[in-house]
Structure formats: C-alpha cells, structure tokens
Amino acid sequence: MSLLSFRGVSVRYGSHTVLKDVSLDVAGGEVVGLVGESGSGKSTLARAAVGLAPVTTGEILLDGRPVPNRGRARPVQMVFQDPYSSLDPRMTVGESIAEAMRERLGKEARRAEIARLLALVHLDASRADDLPVRLSGGQRQRVALARALAARPEVILADEITSALDVSVQGAVLNLVRDMRRELGLSMLFISHNLAVVRYVADHVAVLYAGEIVEYGPTARVLGAPQHDYTRHLLAALPGAVRRTSSGNGRPAPTSALKEQT
C-alpha cells in the first residue's frame, strides 16, 4: 500500500500561479476525490505528479521518495478525460496496452497479460486486435484504464474520466472504478467537477479553489456538512439543490424510486 503525497506544491507559468502551496495525501487503497471548477488547477495537480506539468516549488512523493518520472517503472499512472484523444488511432488496443507494460514479454506471455488486463476492465480478449475506431467511448475509457493498469501502478490519477461519456455509460465506468479499487486495492486521485460522482466513489474529498485546497475531509462530512463557503456554494449550485433544501430531504430520489419497483 503506497502513499502519494503532495507537499507544498506550487505550479507557476510565468507570473500566473496555477497551484498555490497544495498539500494532499492519497493513502494506500484510498480514493480521494478532487473537486473544483475549471481553471482551479485540478488537472494541473495530477499532471504535475506524472511530470507533465513543471513543479515550481514543493515536492510530490511516493512512499517518501520522489515520484519517478524517468525509466520504465512508472508507479503513478494517469487516465485522461477524453477517450477519443487518449488512444493512438493507429495502434490496436493490444499494442496500446502492451506499450505500457514494464518489461518486454514474449509473444504468448504478452497476449495472456493483455487478456488478463482486458478481463479486469470487463472487456473481451478478442478486443485486443481492434483499432480504437471500432470501440465506443465507454469501451475506449476501459482500454485506457487497462493501459494504466498494465504499468502495474500503485496510484492511478483519474482526470474527469466520466465527463466525456454518455450518462448511460458513466455508471458502468464508475462501477468499474469501485470494483477495481476493491479487487486490486488501488489508490486513486479521482478528479471530477461532478459532486454526485465524487460522492459515489471517493472516501475523502478535497475542494480546490483558485489553486488552493480550501476544504478537505471524509466525503460524507465535506458534502454533508461543508465548512467552507465555496463548498457550500458548489453544493447549492447543483441542479435540484433548491428543491432539495426547500422540501428538506423529501424529494423522491429517482434511483430509489426505481429500486422500489424492482
């Protein structure tokens, strides 16, 4: 179980400060949700951890050591928002996954490993020979997850991985995230602007506002009894929030209504 730890991380581009002295821990086997509006620096924090954004001051540690950004072993992996841009259109699913593996395997071993990873994300092994064009958005996002898992990561950074997906597929990917976490004990930094989604997958939530973490705590506490004004502001902006507060908790939740019928 590994601990990903941001210590006083600042990211500056010229005079523009994107992240200001951010400290955040993602404990082993834990999912930490990171919420905030666009431009608040959510993605930059994740990109800094994998070396895609330059850290101006501060450090990002994995089990006390700097996150390795060179060489084949990359224990921190990232899954991107747009599954239409995150897979090379000219490489088959299998090739994309194999490329992220830590060591060169023989042909048979590689095929078996690809099949194992595809099974982890509930895709059929025969998909390995398909090009991304043949896959739907949800299937592509699964392949992107499988590719991240191929590197045998200790932490996964999920950057808005459901935002570009249709609502009907979103749920499947969220279920998958919860399954993987339960079965593989993965730690995850789960970035999303959607509070309901974060509520569903995360143990802890950090609220980022203008490059600073303004609130952090267990999900139920932060979303149930927010301390910071900005968090309250975010919660109040949710569709249905007005009705929810005006009628107490009396609004019939669509999901539970459906379940009563089942």
Binding site: M91, H122, A148, A151, D166, L238, P252
Partner: protein
C-alpha cells in the same frame, strides 16, 4: 476503400491516370525508345516537325519526340530524389525539437523559421553553386532548399499531435522519446506529409527543369526536360515545338503530381466526418416532399411550434443515416420543453432541423413544421427564411467559443442583428447591444461590448449569446446543451438567466440536454428520444417517479445524484446505442431492454397518448423491471 473514393473523383481519376502514364513512360521509356532517341541522322539536322520526326530533330539530327519520352526517367528520378532529400531532411529537422532539450529545440525551430523566410529560388541557386554544376549537385540543392518548408510543416503537425493525450499517456508509461516519435507521432502526421510531398514533387520538377535550363543542372551527354528546353531555345523562332515539347512534358508531369496530391488532400479532408460522404442531388426530393401538398393545418391556438413527422436523413458512405425518424411534438407559448437522450439519439439534430439550420446534403422532411404561424418547410431559400424568422427564433449553442466570430468585437456582433433584422442605424444598434448585454447581467456592458470574445469567460460568452437572442423579441429559444461546457456554478447562473428571460419575454424554451437533472429543474415537459424517435413524453416533475418507458427509467437511474445509495452498484444500460444507419425492426431499444420479448423485437411500438396527454412508445410501458437489471454491466 479510401483509394477507391479518391479514384472516383474526376480530379483523382485524371491525376492518377496521368501519374500512371508518366511513371510508366519513366520506367519503360529508355528501354523502348533509347535506340530511336540516340540515332544520329546527319541528313536531318535541326529539322522541323515532320511525319517522321513529330516535333523535329536536334543539332545532331536525333528525334526530339523520343528524346522527350526518354528524358522522362531522368527528370522524374531527379525530381523524386530531390523531393525525398527535402522530405527526409525536413522530417529530421522538424522532429528534432521533440527529441532534444529545450534550448536546442528552440535553436532548430528559429533556424528553420529564418530559412523558410528566404526565397526558395535564391536558396536553390546558392546551394547549386556550393555543390557545383551537375545533376547530383542540383538534386542536393533543390532538396536542401525544399527542406525548411517541410521542416516547418512537420514541426507544426507534430506540435498538434503532441497535444493529444495518447502522447502524454505514452510518456507517463515511460516510453522513450524516440519511440513515441516513431510509433505515435509520425504515423499520425503521415497523411498530410505525403500529400504535401506529392504536391511538392510537382514544384520540384519545375525547379529542376529551370536549373537544367539555366545550365546549372543536368549536363550533356545526359539530358532531362530542362536540358532539352535549353537546347531547343536557340531555334525557338524557327521550330518552337523543339522547346515547347519538353515544356509540355513538364506541365503534364507537374499536373499529374499536383492533381494526385489534391485528390488525396480532398479525400483525407472529407474523412474528418467519418462515414459521411458528400452526396449531392437530394435537393429536388426534399423540395418536393416538403411542398404545400399537405396544407399546414392550423395549429392549436397558443402553440408556438408544431412539428409533425420530422425526419432528418444524412447521406452516408454506404447507406443513409436516419438521424431523426419521424418526430411529432408541439410547444405552447411560454412553455419549457426538455429533450433528453444519449448522444446519437437525434436530439440535437431535431433542434437544428427545427431552426432550419441544417443544410445540404442532409435532408429534412416533415409533414409540417410550423413556427409562429409560418410554415418553415415551405420551400424557400434559407436566406429569406432566416430573414422571416427574424429574431423570433433564437438558438443558443453548447460551445459559446465557436458561436462568436473571434475576429470581431462582441458589441458589433450583437448590433449586426439589430441592423440586419430591425433596420437600426449603426449607433442605435450598438446602443441596443449594450442595453441587451446589460439585460443579461454582464457588468460594465459598455466596456464589454468593445471587447473580443476571447476576453470573455465561458459563462460570459453564453450570456452574450443569450443577449444576442434578446436583440429582438424571441418567441422560442432553442438551447442545445447550453451549460454542458460550463462549471456548475456558472451553469446555475446561465439557467437562472434563461428562466428570467422567459419570464420577461414570455418566450418558450426547447432545451436539449443529456443532463436529466438540469431538464427536471428547468422544464415543464420532457421528451425522451432514442434512436431518432420520441419514446416518451411526460411532465418533467414526474421524470424520476412516473416514467413508464424502460429506457427513461434506466436513463434516470444511471445518473448518480446526491442521494444515490452508495452500497449498490449504479444502474447501467447494457449494450450500445443503435447505429442510426442500421436501425433494427421492432422496438429500437429491444436489444438493451430487460423486458423485451419477441413481440418487441418484431413490431415497432406506436407512440400512444394517455388521458393526461403523456405519450409513451413501449409494448410494456410501466411493467416492473426485473430485479437484477441494475447489476448488468456493459
């Protein structure tokens, strides 16, 4: 398949045909005609065209026609070699910045930029002098002179591709820079590079002939077209064909390369929209069926929009795509109607069709499409239609960045509406624009009106867009995912603004959204679309509780909200949406429906209204769902 499409175009056919002929002559010309091209006929020196020598002979009495044919090989080989040199060097220079450190990269890029700014011919002459007179020197010269342009192109294309997430993903996976370049970057820029190289080859051919013509290129006894032109020049007033013959050859070969390149460029360009080919000649059909044969029935009083049997068909590469397959609905004055559905369900296309924003070759049919008493289907040219629609129909798009012209200030863009539709003067229109920006609660509207769209945030642009709609008095606002690109807090403000605008103007709203919760909050009524059809219509407040179609119920259950049960997996709709070019018989949702039986798969359920006016298209509307349906995964 793509090659076949290239060939089917006249340009592609001509280009390829010509190129094939040129290449065949280049390969076999010297073998077949070398003898006839080198035979010296001292009795027939510098002769004009004759039956024996079609374009005459040279100063040794050799047949010029066959010399032109034989010269094809050398001319084409040299042109291709020079292009190859330029392209390889260009790719190396263009790709180097991806592999080197930042400083070296910057140096290379600036050097390339300086070289690109140099006139090409100057470079060629410079290099030709450096490498010495002769074919090899000229090939190097032309190649080197072409390299900067290729390097620049390659660099630009690579920068675009490097932004893609798959490159970032490969970097995170620890793939080396060189491997990323070779496996990910270069294959994805190959198409435009090759197209450009093909077109450049035509230019290089011309440059090379020019060099030979100047005496800097091919030297006797070898000869290419440029050399033949030079030889023929002396007698141009006596036997013009001696110089024109090789000139025509240069033009034909150059055309072959350019047309082929053009054809490829066009073919690649079209594939930006996959599967949609440009098919013409559907206009007539659309005009006829939309004609006044079916008299537009008087809609019920108080109805602002009445749509009956709307169909939208997109001509596809293989078969037509039926995006909307017969949609009927009405919106009353001041009413807010939401349309929900997955992507590909036809909800946005429906909105665009209603606003008559769909153009050829996409075909729109309807029994009637009446907006504010005007039949929008009455065949008319779009310009006058837009003028008649005027400002009473307003459309707000998802991406406010692309709905403004980035090169113009915001105020004048709003003012244009007033000048075009209301005949206001420049000053009055601008004043109205400022007033409208004030109405959508932009602070300092005077200053904002003089700013460019990029100086606005996403939410401000969306406000300005709504403000543009308010230049007149809208009766219907069509909003296509107006808040999808915005943050939740801004989304809330924009939705509130839409609500206020409706309160002030009494306008109706057609809101397209994938977000069930937004629609529930804003709208009075909801249309649920699946596979180009309305499958359910019901009051928005009942969406969560009284929906009867299994699709609607699944759609609502699939979205987690702040009260979702955390101990259970989320409900999932199994399978994938219907391919709109291949809609199955029976109910389109049957393959994904837990209730479907053979009857559902065979007979398409009609959209039936109940006493309350709610409509649903399902044989099993309201049946309880099987208990395990929530556990199914895709």
């Amino acid at each position: 398949m793509r090659a076949a499409r290239v060939l089917l175009r006249p340009v592609g056919f001509a280009g390829f045909g010509l190129l094939t002929v040129v290449l065949l002559v280049a390969v076999f010309g010297p073998v077949l005609w070398d003898g006839r091209a080198t035979v010296i006929d001292t009795g027939d020196l510098l002769a004009g065209p004759s039956g024996e020598h079609w374009i005459g002979t040279d100063n040794l009495g050799r047949d010029l026609f066959f010399r032109v044919l034989v010269a094809t090989r050398l001319s084409i080989t040299l042109a291709l070699a020079a292009t190859a040199i330029g392209m390889v060097l260009g790719v190396v220079l263009g790709a180097a910045p991806m592999l080197t450190g930042r400083r070296v990269a910057r140096f290379i890029t600036s050097a390339v930029n300086v070289l690109v700014a140099f006139p090409g011919l100057l470079l060629v002459l410079f290099f030709a002098v450096v490498f010495g007179v002769g074919a090899r020197g000229a090939a190097l010269a032309v190649g080197l002179a072409g390299a900067p342009a290729f390097a620049r192109l390659c660099h630009t294309l690579l920068s675009g591709v490097s932004e893609r997430d798959y490159i970032a993903a490969a970097r995170i996976a620890g793939v080396s820079k060189f491997r990323i370049l070779v496996r990910h970057a270069l294959p994805n820029i190959a198409e435009p590079l090759i197209v450009n190289a093909t077109m450049a080859a035509g230019g290089v051919l011309l440059t090379f002939s020019g060099l030979s013509f100047l005496g800097l290129g091919v030297q006797a006894p070898s000869y290419d077209w440029g050399k033949l032109m030079q030889d023929g020049l002396n007698g141009i007033y006596v036997h013009p064909l001696a110089a024109l013959g090789p000139g025509i050859a240069v033009v034909l070969a150059g055309l072959a390369f350019n047309l082929t390149g053009e054809a490829f460029a066009a073919a690649f360009g079209i594939d930006v929209i996959p599967g949609v080919a440009r098919v013409r000649a559907v206009r007539g059909a659309a005009g006829e069926s939309a004609g006044p044969a079916v008299a537009a029935p008087d809609p019920e009083p108080g109805t602002v929009l009445s749509v009956d049997g709307l169909r939208v068909t997109i001509p596809g590469a293989r078969r037509p795509i039926h995006a909307v397959r017969g949609v009927t609905f009405a919106i009353r004055d001041g009413e807010a109607v939401g349309v929900v559905g997955e992507s590909g369900s036809g909800k946005s296309v429906t909105a665009l069709a209603v606003a008559r924003l769909i153009e050829e070759p996409v075909r729109v049919d309807a029994n009637h499409l009446v907006f504010a008493g005007e039949d929008l289907m009455a065949a008319d040219d779009p310009a006058s239609l837009r003028k008649r629609l005027g400002t009473s129909l307003v459309v707000v798009f998802q991406d406010p960045m692309t709905s403004f012209n980035p090169a113009h200030r915001v105020g004048p863009q709003l003012a244009e509406v007033g000048r075009f539709h209301q005949g206001l003067g420049r000053r009055a229109a601008f004043a109205r624009a400022v007033d409208r920006l004030h109405a959508v609660k932009l602070r300092e509207p005077e200053r904002r009106a003089r700013q460019y769209p990029f100086e606005f945030s996403g939410g401000m642009r969306q406000r300005a867009m709504i403000g543009m709609g308010l230049m007149g008095t809208p009766r219907l606002i069509i909003a296509d995912e107006p808040t999808t690109a915005l943050d939740v807090t801004v989304q809330r403000q924009v939705l509130a603004l839409l609500g206020e605008v409706r309160g002030d103007t009494g306008a109706a709203l057609l809101l397209i959204s994938h977000d069930v919760s937004v629609v529930t909050e804003v709208c009075d009524r909801v249309l649920v679309m699946y596979a180009g059809l309305i499958v359910e219509e019901l009051p928005a407040r009942d969406l969560g509780t009284l929906a009867r179609h299994p699709y609607t119920r699944a759609l609502v259950a699939a979205v987690p909200d702040m009260e979702t049960d955390l101990t259970r997996p989320l409900a999932v709709i199994p399978g994938t949406p219907v391919d709109p070019s291949d809609v199955p018989a029976g109910c389109a949702f049957a393959a994904r429906c837990p209730l479907a039986d053979d009857h559902c798969r065979a007979v398409e359920p009609p959209l039936q209204a109940d006493a309350a006016g709610n409509r649903v298209a399902c044989h099993k509307a309201g049946w309880p769902l099987p208990a395990d349906s929530a556990e199914v995964t895709v």
